[in-house]
Structure formats: C-alpha cells, structure tokens
C-alpha cells in the first residue's frame, strides 16, 4: 500500500442561506496516495467544487464545514486556526482554478507574482526565486521562461496563463494539488498539451492531484481513480477503467451511456430523464431516485456505501452486479 497523503472522512459542508440549509457536500470520504491522480466528476451543483474548497479551508460564510475530517500527511486541517492553515496552503496543498484570468493579478508581472508566492512561505534571495520560477515555467512548457517573467498576464494566451497558474501551484512542491476544471476554458489542442504535462508532473514530483471535471473523457485519460458526485454525495468511486467499463451506480452508467461516442452517429442518445435536483429540496433517501429507472420504494431510505474490492457505490439496485465479470 502506497503512502496516503490526504485522507478525507465524512466531509460535510453546508451553506446556511435564508432559503434554507444547502447541503453542498454531504458525507464525502476518500483517500489519496502519493503521486496519485483522482478524478472528481459531477455536474454543476453536485458539490465537486465545494469539496475542493473545503479541503483547503476556503469555504466562506454562509458556508461552513459542519462535520468530518481532512487529514493532510496525518495533520487534521478542519480544526486548524486560520493562521496555521494559511501557512500550509500553497506549501503543502494548493489549488488551480478554472479561470486563469481571474487568478492572476493583472497589475503584477508573472515574475513578481511568483516571487510573492515563494515569499509567503520561504525566505529566498531574488536570484534564487528567479531561478526557481524560471525552472518551473520551463517545466510547464512556457518557452523562453526567463524573459517571460517580465511579462504581464495580459501578454499571455489563455493556455499560457493556465500554465503560469500551474507553475505557481507547483512552486513549493505541495503534497496535494486540487485542480478545479483547469482545462475547461481552453481549446482542445491546448488541453491535450496540459493534461499530458500534468500527468508527467505528478509522476515526476510525486504530487497527488484531485482533478475536478464534468468531462468523463478528460479524467478517464488522466486519473487512476474516479469519484462520481451527485447532489453533494459521492455515489460511486473506484479505479478509473473498472468504473467506466463496468459502472455500478445507475447515474454513472447513465452518464457514460449518454456520451455521443457511445452511440451510432445519428441515432438517439441514451438520456437521463429529468433535471438535477435543487440542493435546497433534495428528495428523501437516494437523491437520484426520481430520475432512476431502477428505483423502488426502498430508495426512499438512504443507501449506504457497498464496498467491493477497491471500489464502492451507494445504491440498493446496482447495475450489472449479477452478471459475471470477466477477469
């Protein structure tokens, strides 16, 4: 068993709004090993981004972590003071956001921003900071990195800006990086370049990654394990290939079946009926039941997680469990 760097147990984040309590993250648990990439998949409002924010203690009022534990290298983060958390954020765990235009300061050069990020946790000379920044920019694929340190964010393209954001996240060689849809805003050819590099970086540096995405195809080519979220819960998790080839939860199965790549061109796609429920008024029991063809009365009570080998699912009527699985 490889070394576990991040252990999340029963993480529960609620938002206390005037309209009621929004259960954005509701009992999420997973472990992440060194150098491992986990894909966190879900639709908008499924709680995948709030899960990422909760890990770094970035949830603002009216939201708060009401229960659960996040252990990074054995240290509990949820009970930590803001100051203590701040000293770890960026150094031991860091985040890459979806929109690189919003993450970079337009008034500072890339070099200045990278120096600030280094200074936050270490005292280094300007020369050493510059050398480290140059090295990382080169590593993420920015040509003539030393010269580019003097450039401002607007002088970079979208893809290059995201590379800068990735380089900043890597500055302190954190144990864990949470990447929230970092390639969604980018073109496919640029996305492919970045995915390819991230995979290599995780392997070389031993940094573990949580890759949040709505795109099954993106995570399937990147992550070694997957967690599928629906309405604040992880409904299924397991090794990527196993989970995609042989899904257990009807929602996972529905998502895979609805992909155009799964159907003959021109024929109707398999669709999941209905719409995603509002987190304010979730149906009792399994939140997916109203959209599920396999649902019965039993689904009005909350299904517990069934664990089998290295995978788990939250469903009373899992798909394909009675059929023989070929070795």
């Amino acid at each position: 068993m490889s070394e576990i760097v991040l252990s999340v147990k029963n993480l529960t984040t609620h938002f206390f709004t005037r309209a009621g309590v929004v259960k954005a993250v509701d009992g999420v648990s997973f472990d992440l090993a060194r150098g491992e990439i986990m894909g966190l998949v879900g639709e908008s409002g499924s709680g995948k981004t709030v899960t990422g924010f909760s890990l770094l203690g970035l949830v603002d009022a009216p939201g708060r972590i009401v229960e659960g534990s996040v252990k990074l290298n054995g240290t509990e983060l949820t009970t930590m003071s803001d100051a203590a958390l701040r000293s770890r954020r960026g150094r031991e765990i860091s985040m890459i956001f979806q929109d690189p235009i919003a993450t970079l300061n337009p008034m500072l050069t890339i070099g200045q921003q990278m120096k600030l990020a280094i200074d936050a946790h270490e005292r280094v000379s300007n020369r050493a900071a510059k050398a480290r920044a140059t090295q990382l920019l080169t590593q993420v694929g920015i040509p003539s990195a030393a010269a580019r340190l003097r450039a401002y964010p607007h002088e970079f393209s979208g893809g290059m800006r995201q590379r800068v954001a990735i380089a900043i996240a890597l500055l302190h060689r954190p144990a864990v990086i949470v990447a929230d849809e970092p390639t969604t805003a980018l073109d496919v050819s640029i996305q492919a370049q970045i995915l390819f590099q991230m995979r290599d970086l995780a392997r070389e540096t031993g940094t573990a990654m949580i890759w949040i995405s709505h795109d099954l195809a993106v995570v399937s080519s990147l992550a070694s394990k997957l967690a599928v979220m629906y309405a604040g819960r992880i409904v299924e998790q397991g090794p990527t290939a196993t989970l995609l080839r042989d899904p257990r939860h009807p929602y996972t199965a529905g998502l895979i079946a609805s992909l155009p790549a799964m159907a003959k061109p021109g024929t109707p796609l398999t669709q999941i009926r209905g719409t995603t429920p509002s987190l304010l008024s979730l149906p009792p029991g399994c939140a997916f039941a109203p959209r599920c063809d396999r649902a019965t009365d039993r689904c009005r009570t909350e299904p517990q997680i069934t664990v089998q080998d290295s995978r788990g699912w939250r469903c009373f009527h899992p798909v394909g469990q009675n059929t023989e699985v070929c070795p």
């Binding site: 496919v188 050819s189 492919a192 995979r199 099954l216 399937s220 290939a241 155009p260 109707p268």
Partner: protein
Amino acid sequence: MSGFINIDNVSQIFGPNLTTGEKIAAKLGARVETRSVRAVSDVTLSIRKGETLGLVGESGCGKSTLGRVIAGILPPTTGAVTIDDAPVMENGTKVTTRVQTVFQDPFASLDPRMKVGNTVAEGPIAHALTTKSEARSYVASWFERVGLDPVWVERYPHQFSGGQRQRIAIARALAMQPDVLICDEPVASLDVSIQAQIINLLLELTRDLALTSVFISHDLSVVQHVSDRVAVMYLGRIVELGPVAQVFGEPAHPYTAALFGSVPKLVLDADELVHFDTIEGEVPSPLSPPSGCYYHPRCPLATQTCGTTQPITQQISDLRAVACHYFEKQLAEGVSD
C-alpha cells in the same frame, strides 16, 4: 453552385472603429491598433437540402462568425449567402425568415423580463405566421413539440433550468417555421446529463421538420454524432470538408488529424494510461496570421512551399475538399503511379 444554401466567397473582416482623433494619432505615429482581423476568409461552401453540416475548430477559428453570416445576423464584408437562390441579406439587412438560430447560452438569449410565451410569439406575430388572438395556442403547440408543458408559457426565464431554457430557445427558432436552423454550440453550456436530451430533441426535430442545419461546436464527438458532413476551420479558412465518416475516419489535412488526435477519449479497455497526440504551439494571433498555409508553423509536414503559398482548396469528390500542399502532392504522386 447547386446547393440549397450557397455560401459564395464570404469574408468577414473586423477592423477597429477608429475615431477621427485616433486616425490622426495613428498617422502621427501613436500606437493605435489599426490592424483588422479576418475572422472568415474566402469561404465558399454549399449545403444540400436536408443536410446537417457540422462546423468545428478551436476558439477564434471563425466558426461562430460564419454561422452568424449564414444566419443573416452579420452582413459579410464580401461575398453573399443565398438560401434556395434567395439572398439572406440585402444592403446589410436580413430579408428572410427562413433561417433561424439557437444560441449557446440560454441564460443570455432569453429576455429575463418577458414571459417566455411572449418571447416565442413575438416573431411569428410580426411576420404574420399567427395572429395575436391565436398566438397562445400557436406557442403552446410549439412548447409541446419541444417537450415543455404548454401551461409554462406564462412563466419567466428564471423559473426554468438550463435545459428547459434551451428548449424554449429551440421553440422560438422553430416557431418562425424556418427551413434552415443554425445551432451555435447549443449544448456547450448544459450539464452532461441534459446534453443528451437536447441533442436527441434536435435530431428528432431536424428529421421530422426536414430542416437543413448548421451545427457549430467545439465538441467533436457531438458534431460527429449529429452531422452528415463536417467542415474543419482554422484561422478563418476551411481546411477540410467532407462526409463525417470520411473526415473522422481518414482525415486528409494534418490539422484535422492532429485536432482529432488531441481530443481526450473515454478510456475503457485499458488500465494503461493513454498517450495524447498533442499539437505543438498555439493558434497564431488572427491579427497577424502567418504567410502561406496558416497551419504551417505548427505542422510537422510543412515544407517551404507551405510557408509562402496559400494552398488551393482541392475538390477530391463531390462532397469532399481539402486545402493542403502535402495532400496535393500525395494526390499527384498517386495519380502518376
């Protein structure tokens, strides 16, 4: 030209709208942006009746601009578009209702202060497709057609989810009884589980109403699913055009091949990590495109000719065309063998 929709030598150039002061400043050597962007560059294309043409390419390749020119939203700088031999635009104004558009973002494309029923009824009433007194039942019938409850005509856009709003946008376009439907990234802003619903609806409606359509998307798997033919654009030019199965199966242009290669595919059969075929570099700025073939700085097959001369679009068959020097050479060698 014999298509149902004929796009004849269309170019769309966006230039800076300089004020007199800026023009003088530019003359005096101040740094004023005077360059223009050729968003669409000499595109000639014909679409057959009942066909669905997919337009693909990366952002900034001009696919949406071309869609807007066909839809009669943008007057092209040069060239013209005709539908059934009738012009779409005259003197910069749209003169037909036969082409309608479904836009990407149903949150932006519906008036938040108008009841959705009125939004859908507005066009048909103005163009006498229905009367004010019959509008309600007319709209209700279109609501049913797109899978919405007809009693919802009294509601406002904020009361609907993204998928439902896109259905309303589709109803609005179809209530004009068009022959041509332009779909500009109609599922890009929707949730994954909703995308299939909308794609199915569009497939069903284009078939039942015998619509000719242009489907614009950056998502190649969606385009592959819905289109009969596909046009691949790069920096405003169409680099390859052909039947979906042929273009996806045997891409002729190096850019097409590379673009398809860089799309992440669902990995089902291997625990091994897949290899990406990435394209080197980035799309050049359309303000100063490279000489010759626009793709040559990124193309592994580029020769000197590619850097100097723009490749001519070669018609391979009735439905297929490619603009590439390398392919031309291969074709010539194949013939001489």
